[in-house]
Symmetry: C2
Subunit: 208 residues, 2 copies
DNA sequence: CTCCAATCGAAACGATACGTTTCGTTATAT
DNA sequence: ATATAACGAAACGTATCGTTTCGATTGGAG
């Protein structure tokens, strides 16, 4: 998998300087590279602004100038991975949701650095109210966007128009979060079809 | 609600001393009281061993001696609340699950300190592998225990014997976690019946 | 009864990270 | 030509970490 941005072209360059009264793209990139590397090597616990600054050979003020919170920096690292993932549109809600849970959530987090980063972001949001606000907004946006899968199913007549698309997607995402935060991604991936079938079909043979 | 242990009888007592070569119960209680108070006043962010020690007028080594991790201390505070909550057994799976989600999860966390403490524990588990192990074990145990609700429904013939009880409960718990960690407990409580009905019945009118 | 051992609170330790401020340098924008 | 704003570097004071000392306390072993 080449989902991970390349950071092998390390900072062999000469020391960066100011390029005038504007942001230095090279510095920004070096900082993101460093943040990713630090997260990769030391995990969540070792992730600090100081460590990133050292690794990037950047001044702390430069980081604080462009990223108000540690969370903002982590989210930017996360977003580097989430590059143009086309949304599943297979023509079937079931396989759309399976692909969504298996590829876009669990599979995306598995193995790569993304899971680690996302866990850190969620953890940070429990401490920092500002981070909580950012994460909540991000989740709301993603939820609304993902609900389009259900909208398309409605258009196909696959589900009634009254179906609460956001709730369906919320159940899928909630399950993925729970598994991620408990470090059970690998186990969860094996059960994806069962989970989706349960969410779509409910408890088989349930007598109301 | 009087779910919260009383800590109003504050430490007006004289300074505690050693009572010999054994644990001082008064100190342990004072530390737990202080931990709860600190969490209550400063939230997760302000929670530090130093702050707890100051508040309890205890020495830091005394805390480190009895609680290896910060998480262990937080979990002990959490457990003070979780006093003998009897499990829902209403004779109907639907109302059992509604009560479970509304009272034992969301309602238990709402308002009281428990939600804050639990969020802190989950956050800590993302950083500290030891905390992760403890939390994972705790969740697995609770999951198996809660699945008994579905087992009783099976015995009543309400659901087929092949139903995956742990998956049903997992979906409910996952939803509760997601809402807790996003700070949306209040909104979530209003939607409890809809959520349970969706999990039990699936998407109404879904054509497989 | 004597003394050992383990506890207690208090204080201080070095280390680390926080977020901010200063400084001299650089180069765009006006 | 000059004001402006970014850059890296260094240092600031504050806070918490987890550990180490210290003297005082008191139960339990010998």
């Amino acid at each position: 998998m080449s989902t991970e941005p390349d950071i092998s072209a390390d900072n062999d360059e000469i020391a960066r300087r100011s390029i005038g009264a504007r942001r230095n793209p090279a510095s920004q990139e070096a900082i993101l590279d460093a943040a990713q590397a630090v997260m990769q090597e030391g995990g969540i616990a070792g992730f600090s602004i100081e460590a990133v600054a050292r690794r990037a050979r950047a001044g702390k003020p430069t980081i604080y100038r462009w990223w108000p919170h540690r969370t903002a920096l982590m989210l930017d690292v996360y977003k580097r991975f989430k590059n143009a993932r086309s949304f599943p549109d297979s023509g079937s809600l079931r396989s759309d949701l399976i692909s969504f849970l298996e590829d876009h959530l669990l599979g995306f987090w598995q193995g790569s650095l993304c899971g680690t980063v996302y866990r850190a972001v969620v953890a940070e949001a429990q401490t920092d109210p500002e981070a909580a606000k950012v994460l909540k907004a991000y989740q709301a946006e993603r939820l609304a966007y993902s609900a389009q899968m259900v909208d398309r199913a409605k258009a196909r007549g696959e589900v009634p128009a009254a179906t609460d698309g956001e709730l369906i997607v919320d159940l899928v995402v909630s399950y993925a979060w729970h598994q991620l935060l408990l470090g059970q991604i690998d186990d969860a991936i094996a059960r994806v079809p069962t989970v989706i079938d349960t969410i779509l079909g409910g408890v088989r043979g349930y007598r109301e």
